[in-house]
């Protein structure tokens, strides 16, 4: 008999079968969701649970509606087994990336696969309320276009700087500090109130790291270092398969590390970031040292870091030299991290890293030269293949990983939706009350003389 049909009333203090089974339900569900087991036989083998228990839990998961068991798999001798599949269309995930001059939004299914994305220009210096309103409008549009009948199961927003708060328990209860201009604005509360779904904020480097971990080159890596090279240089760390955030959510600010180039000492951001590359490239274009960049300038094009990267890839010696200087300097800092953390994989990301091989070559050369042989024995250093969509994909994976984390999952799985998680239900009320309080405070301020 499936456990979902058992009565919840038992002897005093004794948990129901349904409650005590939540852990094994969650374990089986995550095996199915992650694709590690797709048949009953595989589930028995991977979970080490007996046939009767697996059958009982699958019946419950089917009854709750989280899985379907219908398609036939490939037979390996006898009858073809039935395939068990997670229903990724039970809900949708809304994601957004905010940077200084652009807003990206997307909508994904419960596996984190993006249906679509849209980007538009914004000024993040404008007031928080109008930017937040724009995000709400675009989310409304995405839902209407792609998921009019799907509940929103979670929302993740990637922001330019660190999100200074520790791990949520298990959901974000209020808006953490992340940008000075947004201080005091109830962004998380607004999203929770409007869409009735839990919200996570992460730094852009964290979401890109998650994107690479789950949809890019890092899918098989347990320990990964993700380096984003742009105006600022940051690092994301996957430690034992999970994103490491640090005590304050501010890990990976390697652009602040002091470095030296000749007789000049400054931070890695200043001496190796895209501003340096653009500055040196423009000088080379104007002086004619780089014929290719001079040609770009002649055609009325801008010479920025991206153009220098493209020129280096085309074999322009001056551009290759500029990128080599940046790459070796980044390589020194990354080698230090590699010696300390011993990752399986180091990924270089950012438009500059992705449009040419020179930066990657310089980083490789330095890391291999300056690291302990044991550290580099199986180390892979590669560039990201995900482009600027990594942030949106990673934001979706932040939601997926948080919702299906075993500790969180066991508290909602029997309800069939995380929106019925007892902590989240309480949080929704608190968010609504806090928003109402803020609005009342603003009203009082407005009528004050």
């Amino acid at each position: 008999m499936p456990i979902a049909s058992t009565s919840g009333i038992r002897g005093k203090g004794r948990p129901t079968t349904r409650d005590s089974a939540a852990a094994s339900l969650g374990a089986l569900f995550n095996l199915i969701r992650s694709g590690k087991a797709t048949t009953r036989q595989e589930l028995e083998r991977e979970s080490e649970l007996g046939r009767a228990v697996v059958a009982d839990r699958l019946a419950t998961l089917s009854e709750i509606g989280l899985i379907v068991e219908s398609e036939l798999g490939i037979a390996s001798g006898g009858r073809a087994p039935r395939l068990v599949r997670f229903r990724t269309d039970l809900g949708c995930i809304l994601v957004a990336t905010l940077d200084q001059s652009a807003l990206g939004v997307g909508i994904a299914d419960l596996s984190g696969r993006l249906f679509t994305e849209h980007h538009e220009a914004i000024d993040l210096g404008a007031d928080a309320a109008s930017t937040s309103q724009r995000i709400l409008s675009l989310f409304d549009w995405l839902i209407a276009k792609h998921a009019p009948d799907m509940p929103v199961w979670g929302i993740a927003v990637s922001v330019p700087g660190p999100v200074t708060e520790g791990d949520e328990m298990p959901f974000m209860e209020q808006t953490p500090s992340f940008l000075p201009a947004w201080e005091g604005f109830p962004f998380v509360e607004t999203l929770v109130d409007r869409f009735g779904a839990p919200v996570w904020l992460r730094s852009s480097i964290e979401t890109m790291t998650m994107g690479e971990r789950f949809a890019g080159a890092g899918q098989t890596a347990r320990n990964m270092l993700f380096i984003k090279v742009g105006k600022r240089i940051g690092a994301g760390l996957i430690f034992d398969g999970r994103l490491y955030r640090g005590a304050q959510g501010a890990s990976g600010l390697i652009g602040q590390m002091p470095v030296q180039a000749g007789d000049r000492a400054s931070t890695l951001d200043v001496l190796a970031g895209s501003d340096m590359i653009a500055r040196e490239g423009l000088a080379a274009a104007q002086s004619g040292r780089s014929p290719l960049l001079a040609d770009t300038l002649r055609r009325g094009g801008d010479v920025g870091a991206i153009e220098v990267s493209q020129a280096a890839q085309s074999g322009d010696p001056t551009s290759m030299e500029i990128l080599g200087i940046s790459g070796r300097m980044i390589g020194h800092s990354v080698a230090m991290l590699a010696n300390m953390l011993n990752p399986d994989l180091i990924i270089l990301s950012g438009t500059m890293a992705q449009t040419n091989d020179l930066l990657l070559a310089a980083v490789r050369e330095t890391v291999y030269g300056e690291s302990h042989p044991l550290v580099t024995r199986d180390l892979i250093i590669a560039k990201s293949q995900m482009g600027s969509s990594a942030g949106l994909v990673g934001a979706a994976m932040v939601v997926v990983e948080s919702l299906f984390e075993p500790g969180c999952l066991k508290d909602w799985i029997v309800h069939g939706t995380p929106l019925a998680h007892p902590v989240f239900l309480a949080l929704r009320k608190a968010c609504a009350a806090r928003r109402a309080g803020i609005a009342a405070g603003q009203d009082r301020q407005a009528i004050a003389p």
Binding site: A102, G104, L114, F115, T116, E117, H118, H119, E120, A121, R134, S137, L138, W141, A144, K145, L292, D295, T296, R299, G300, G301, E307, Q310, A311, S314, Q354, T355, Q385, M386, G387, S388, S389
Partner: protein, 339 residues
């Protein structure tokens, strides 16, 4: 006019001037004797014909041979088959307009992997990246076109009016951008306006969808339709239903131009410039084949077309004389049926 939208991955637009060909480029291209194939969604529309004309003119100047022009008939399967077949021909480059999203993504990726330069028009399947999977996207500033259409319609709307927005059901970068831009312009500039959205599956059903939207919201005071052909279906359906409502759209098709000029329901159009877009994609293609730097996204600004400038806009867009009906309406020709 500036470009107001961002590219499919958030790229900043490069203007068409950025990919202009210099005499030395043309000389080098002639020496290259390049072979190029073109794969379009259709060859029967004026838009497609003008694209081809712009491409042919530029490749003609550069003495690059167009070895085949494929009409996919809007069918993803036909496009996949065409791209796979053309790979065997080993052209130097292929210019393609992806007719769908995920179903044609891999076929396009295989073109690049075969060492053939791939240039995309108007749409990028999700997951394909500039640089590694394709050279560049060349499109209109679809976001700007949506804002042009919104501004035209707003002039005709009373305070607090309701507007019907007919959006395309398929996942397509260009039409998504137009719709989002229209909504954003209204939210920002006319927050009093209420928008009611309905998706249409095909051009043929757009008229019925418009009437269904009216039956749900009887107070609709205007329509925005994401391109001209379904917009004219909406106009016909409204005429049959005895309703006269202002309609704005994108693309200066012949029927839409005649309706606009004769003070019909079409009250303003955001027009693409397909001939110039054809030139832009061919120029980008030549530069890429010469090993020059090319931007990830080249966008062409849209034209705001009203009944006041429909004649010159028609000539500019289509590189030919405006239809007789347009010239008569603009009082540039006598009406032969007038007494």
């Amino acid at each position: 006019m500036t470009i107001s939208g961002l590219g499919p991955h958030g790229e900043r637009a490069a203007p068409p001037e950025r990919i202009a060909l210099f005499p030395d480029d043309i000389t080098a291209a002639r020496a290259g004797r390049f072979r190029v194939a073109i794969v379009l969604h259709t060859l029967s529309s004026d838009w497609a014909k003008q694209q081809i004309a712009g491409i042919m003119a530029t490749f003609g100047d550069c003495e690059a041979a167009v070895i085949e022009v494929v009409d996919c008939g809007f069918a993803p399967e036909a496009q996949v088959a065409a791209l796979d077949r053309l790979r065997g021909e080993k052209p130097d480059a292929i210019i393609s307009i992806p007719v769908a999203n995920s179903t044609v993504a891999d076929a396009h990726r295989r073109v690049s992997q075969a060492g053939i330069r791939l240039l995309l028009l108007d749409n990028v399947p999700t997951g394909l990246l500039p640089g590694s999977d394709y050279v560049a996207l060349i499109s209109a500033d679809n976001f700007g076109l949506g804002t042009i259409a919104a501004a035209f319609l707003a002039e005709r709307l009373a305070q607090g009016a309701a507007v019907g927005v007919l959006s395309y059901h398929a996942e397509f970068f260009a039409t998504n951008e137009r719709e989002i831009a229209f909504n954003k312009w209204m939210l920002t500039n006319r927050p009093d306006i209420r928008l009611h959205v309905r998706k249409f599956d095909s051009i043929q059903t757009a008229g019925a969808d418009a009437l269904a939207l009216i039956s749900d919201h009887d107070d609709l005071a205007g329509f925005f339709v994401v391109w001209d052909t379904p917009a004219m279906e909406v106009v016909k359906a409204l005429e049959r239903a005895g309703r006269h409502l202002p309609v704005t759209t994108v693309d200066l098709g012949r029927d839409a131009a005649i309706n606009l000029a004769s003070d019909g329901m079409i009250c303003g159009i955001g027009a693409q410039q397909p001939y110039l877009q054809g030139i832009a994609v061919a120029q980008t293609c030549v530069l890429a084949l010469l090993g020059k730097q090319t931007p990830d996204w080249v966008a062409l600004p849209g034209l705001a077309v009203s009944s006041d400038n429909v004649v010159e806009s028609f000539q500019k867009v289509w590189r030919k004389q405006a239809p007789r009906e347009v010239l008569v309406s603009a009082k540039l020709l006598k009406n032969p049926s007038a007494p």
